[in-house]
């Protein structure tokens, strides 16, 4: 398989971001700006902020900008709600040329007034976009004045698209969340084993699965950031004894900030795959150092493992020896996937992320075998080249990567935010194995 008519595969300047593992790690170039013209798969600051905040179910999510930014983010995520549905709407001030010339502050104020009147929300989040950063609308002042008028919280999200990367958007979102959390009197945590769970967006009910595990262990889940959360639940976050962080890329910053301000310790966990799920539950139980919790935790792991292990082993029989390529958003997901593939007998031969950090790439290089290609901020030409060269049987990725895999005749696993099935916990581990099996073992490949 080779490309027709195409030029080179790797632009010179990109070479430092691509590395074939041999022996020890070499310090991959990452956390830098994308190189112009290389067809990066990365998104923008606004995207990062919206991903993190959008699951807040009873907030008005108002995009202050041109229509496109709101259009492309209307109800595209699979975050589920047990209550309000307002978060599934996308609001925009639809800035036009005259607003660019004369400024958009008045329009924004009117938009907020209209929306508060119509929906009576407890919270309005106003997302800044590229042009707002340029024309210099004072979002902070407009939001402050509107909050005063309406007696509710109205917060700006500093998410001008060009002002950094998706990771900077995560940070902007975490800053907003910090402003939402109410300081607690005397800083005493709630009684009992009470934790917050950071970095789960309740895709297809994933946070509900984890919440159920914790309940069965005698641990109360206080706030999930931000899956199925609401204004009033977020307020109470300062009362937890511990923050557990799943998606460290998006929420690590919040964990650190909450430790600094409220003295809440945090630990990184992962509920992707059987091994990680079991380890994470044990880690959380261990924190409380309580025999009953530990006992319940072990019972839960034993029971759930008994249920899912035979199923996963069944899939493994057909999958053993296959080769996977991974290209996902963040390092946390990539690391978890390596381990999850190992559970079903699959080796990772190519792995990359859009926004992985140095320490995450070090971990990745520690986990994969020699000969695996590791790459940061890859483009379609590189993905094509290295998947074919490495003999991958399947790719894990997002919506943009899917058609590329299919055109190359490769199986594909969706690991994006609009999926309709959970991949977390023991139930998710089975779903993952089944999805890999469904795609790798499909009869369709025989006809190519």
């Amino acid at each position: 398989m080779n490309s027709l008519r195409a030029g080179i595969t790797v632009v010179e300047e990109r070479r430092a971001s691509i590395h074939t593992k041999s022996g020890q790690s070499c310090g991959l170039r990452c956390e830098t700006d994308s190189i112009a013209g290389c067809v990066s798969q990365r998104a923008c600051v606004y995207c990062g902020a919206r991903v993190v905040l959008n699951p807040i179910t009873d907030a008005i999510h108002l995009v202050h900008g041109p229509i496109g930014c709101a259009s492309y983010t209307w109800d595209i995520r699979g975050s589920l709600s047990s209550g309000e549905e307002l978060y599934r709407f996308s609001f925009s001030t639809d800035l036009k040329e005259r607003d660019i010339i004369f400024g958009g502050e008045k329009k924004l104020a009117c938009a907020i007034d209209e929306l508060v009147e119509r929906y009576r929300p407890p919270l309005v989040l106003v997302y800044s976009t590229c042009i707002v950063g340029i024309i210099g609308d004072d979002l902070e002042a407009v939001c402050k004045a509107a909050a005063k008028r309406h007696g509710i919280e109205i917060l700006p999200v500093q998410s001008s698209g060009f002002a950094g990367s998706k990771s900077d958007g995560y940070k902007a979102a975490c800053d907003v969340l910090m402003r939402l959390i109410e300081p607690r009197q005397g800083m005493q945590p709630f009684p009992g084993a009470v934790i917050n769970y950071l970095g789960d967006f309740n895709l297809a009910g994933e946070a509900w699965i984890i919440s159920d595990y914790l309940r069965r262990m005698g641990i109360r889940l206080n706030v999930v950031f931000t899956g199925d959360s609401s204004y009033h639940t977020l307020k109470k976050a300062a009362g937890a004894a511990l923050n557990v962080i799943q998606c460290a890329g998006s929420m690590g910053y919040l964990g650190i900030a909450m430790q600094e301000r409220y003295g809440i310790p945090y630990m990184n966990v992962s509920f992707l795959g059987m091994e990680d799920t079991a380890n994470s539950l044990r880690q959380i139980a261990g924190f409380f150092n309580d025999a009953e919790i530990t006992n319940k935790c072990e019972n839960l792991i034993a029971r759930e493992s008994r249920l899912v292990e035979p199923q996963i082993m069944g899939y493994r029989q057909d999958l053993e020896g296959k080769k996977a390529a991974i290209y996902v958003g963040g390092g946390f997901k990539a690391i978890s996937l390596i381990k999850q593939f190992r559970e079903i007998g699959i080796d990772v031969v190519m792995i990359g992320t859009q926004t992985g950090r140095h320490e995450e790439y070090d971990t990745i290089e520690g986990l994969v075998g020699d000969g695996t290609v590791v790459l940061d901020d890859a483009n379609p030409a590189e993905l094509e080249q290295f998947m074919m060269q490495q003999g991958a049987d399947l790719l894990v990725g997002g919506v943009k990567e899917r058609p590329l895999a299919y055109k190359l005749g490769l199986a594909f696993v969706d690991h994006n935010h609009d999926r309709k099935h959970p991949l977390s916990g023991f139930a998710g581990a089975v779903n993952f194995a089944r999805e890999v099996h469904d795609t790798v073992c499909s009869p369709v490949w025989q006809y190519l």
């Binding site: 398989m1 490309s3 027709l4 008519r5 195409a6 030029g7 080179i8 632009v11 700006d33 994308s34 190189i35 112009a36 013209g37 290389c38 067809v39 990365r42 998104a43 923008c44 606004y46 900008g65 041109p66 229509i67 496109g68 709101a70 259009s71 492309y72 209307w74 709407f89 996308s90 609001f91 925009s92 001030t93 800035l95 036009k96 607003d99 660019i100 329009k107 009117c110 938009a111 007034d113 209209e114 590229c130 042009i131 340029i134 024309i135 698209g161 060009f162 950094g164 483009n379 379609p380 030409a381 997002g398 919506v399 943009k400 899917r402 058609p403 299919y406 055109k407 005749g409 190519l448």
Partner: protein, 461 residues
């Protein structure tokens, strides 16, 4: 209060209908042979648009970005754009490149025309077709972005040419299946043609052992170059304003006669298309097409009583909305709400003109959002929605069944394969509409009749 620009002025849009101008401008480039596009702006713009387009077509959509960062926003993005072009050419080796601006590039005042010119001179590529298109996201909608880009492509490539026989066929944003059908009809009519843009293979490419970073197909550049020598231009964009009309450009600049026709969906629109082809080529309409026409008529008769129950809400790009509304008229389906996210001066005038069957109580929405479409659809008692997959919102909230057509279709597969043009395509579309009405009726009629007429004592059941 902010000044009111027009009757539709609102401070806030709720669930947007239109997409942004550069997204629309990407599409025609995807239908030109060996073309690539670079978006001059923030990295996220290209990514969001690629995702939005890829999910509809299920095809890789490679679009480069000049990836302007904070530094570029302050000091200008010229270096980024030039470097982006260098890298893009190395990776894709395209024969033509579109440069689309964004909110950011326009607001920081990038002179893309000048940068393009300098770039070509500096690289010694003065003849290379680099096509800058000003497409600020705060400008017009994706529909206008599409035609403006197309006009710029033709404007860059077309040169005075000796008369030849190839008809220029300018198409709006239709499915690749529709474009293939239009090509089939042209061939059956014995017409030689240059379809532009031709997305029929590029955005619905067959599986092949060899992967091509730029998919095969698209309008050849040589065909566009000689468009001024064509006997006529047929453009399926009868609601389009002249200022961004490629057909009007060819007529006013090179004197190519323009037939600006409705999209060939619906019996009358297909008749008009074939009449014009007969006129331009002098060829008779072959029996095979007349048989297809007869089958469509037969289907219209078979379904007319079911269709008479239809009260439709139609939304999408203006030219498609026009054709769909007329198709509803022809079949006795009452269009109760007709909406487009674009701002279009002609659509309302054309639909309410003489010989149209515009219901007196119907509602027309320009620059619409889905919140307003929903309110009016409910108020007018619409029982069928016809438009893009965003209309699933009407199904979920108001239980109005949706017949998917147009762009985007994100929640079903096969948007690129949906056939609705020509007599055969219209027959298939009509069946989809009628069947949606039937399914809805069958789902509800027992309960409806019971609620309407049953008066016995519930205890007796």
């Amino acid at each position: 209060m902010v000044d009111r620009d027009n009757d539709n002025f609102r401070n806030v849009i709720e669930n947007p209908c239109p997409m942004c101008m550069p997204l629309g401008a990407i599409l025609p480039f995807k239908g030109i042979e060996n073309a690539m596009v670079i978006i001059h702006g923030s990295q996220g713009c290209a990514t969001y648009m690629r995702r939005h387009i890829a999910e509809h077509y299920n095809e890789p959509i490679d679009v480069a970005s000049s990836s302007i960062s904070e530094r570029g926003a302050i000091y200008g993005g010229e270096d980024n754009l030039k470097k982006g072009l260098d890298n893009l050419i190395q990776l894709y080796n395209p024969g033509i490149i579109g440069i689309l601006t964004t909110c950011l590039a326009e607001t920081i005042g990038e002179d893309v025309e000048r940068i393009s010119h300098d770039y070509l001179n500096e690289r010694g590529m003065a003849e290379y077709p680099l096509v800058p298109v000003p497409t600020p996201g705060y400008g017009l909608s994706h529909s206008e972005g599409y035609f403006l880009a197309l006009k710029r492509i033709i404007g860059r490539l077309a040169r005075p040419a000796p008369a030849h026989k190839k008809i220029n066929v300018i198409t709006p944003n239709l499915s690749p299946a529709d474009l293939r059908e239009i090509k089939r009809i042209l061939t059956l009519m014995g017409a030689e043609y240059a379809l532009c843009p031709d997305l029929s293979d590029t955005l619905d490419s067959p599986y092949s052992k060899t992967y091509s970073r730029i998919p095969a197909g698209g309008t050849p550049l040589a065909d566009i170059a000689v468009m001024p020598g064509a006997p006529a231009t047929i453009q399926f964009a009868n609601t389009l304003e002249e200022s961004i009309s490629p057909g009007h450009y060819l007529e006013s600049t090179f004197g190519v006669p323009l037939f600006n026709l409705p999209v060939p969906i619906g019996l009358e629109a297909c008749d008009i298309f074939l009449d014009v082809l007969h006129q331009v080529t002098g060829n008779q309409i072959p029996d095979s097409l007349l048989i297809e026409r007869g089958r469509l008529l037969d289907a219209m008769i078979d379904s007319h009583k079911y269709n008479a129950q239809g009260r439709s809400v139609i939304f999408g790009e203006p030219d498609l909305v026009y054709a769909l509304t007329r198709t509803c008229f022809e079949n006795g389906i009452k269009p109760m709400v007709v909406a487009t996210g674009s701002r279009n001066k002609n659509l309302h005038r054309l639909l309410t003109g003489p010989n149209m069957h515009w219901p007196v109580d119907a509602c027309f929405l320009d620059e619409a959002d889905y919140a307003s479409i929903r309110i009016h659809a409910k108020e007018k008692g619409a029982n069928i929605a016809i438009g893009s997959s965003e209309g699933r919102y009407l199904t979920e909230r108001e239980d109005i069944p949706l017949v998917r057509i147009g762009f985007p279709i994100h929640d079903r597969v096969g948007g690129q394969r949906l056939l609705s043009a020509g007599y055969t395509g219209t027959t298939m579309l009509l069946d989809r509409i009628t069947n949606a009405l039937l399914e809805d009726q069958q789902r509800h009629y027992r309960l409806n009749m019971y609620l309407s007429y049953f008066s016995g004592d519930l205890e007796m059941r």
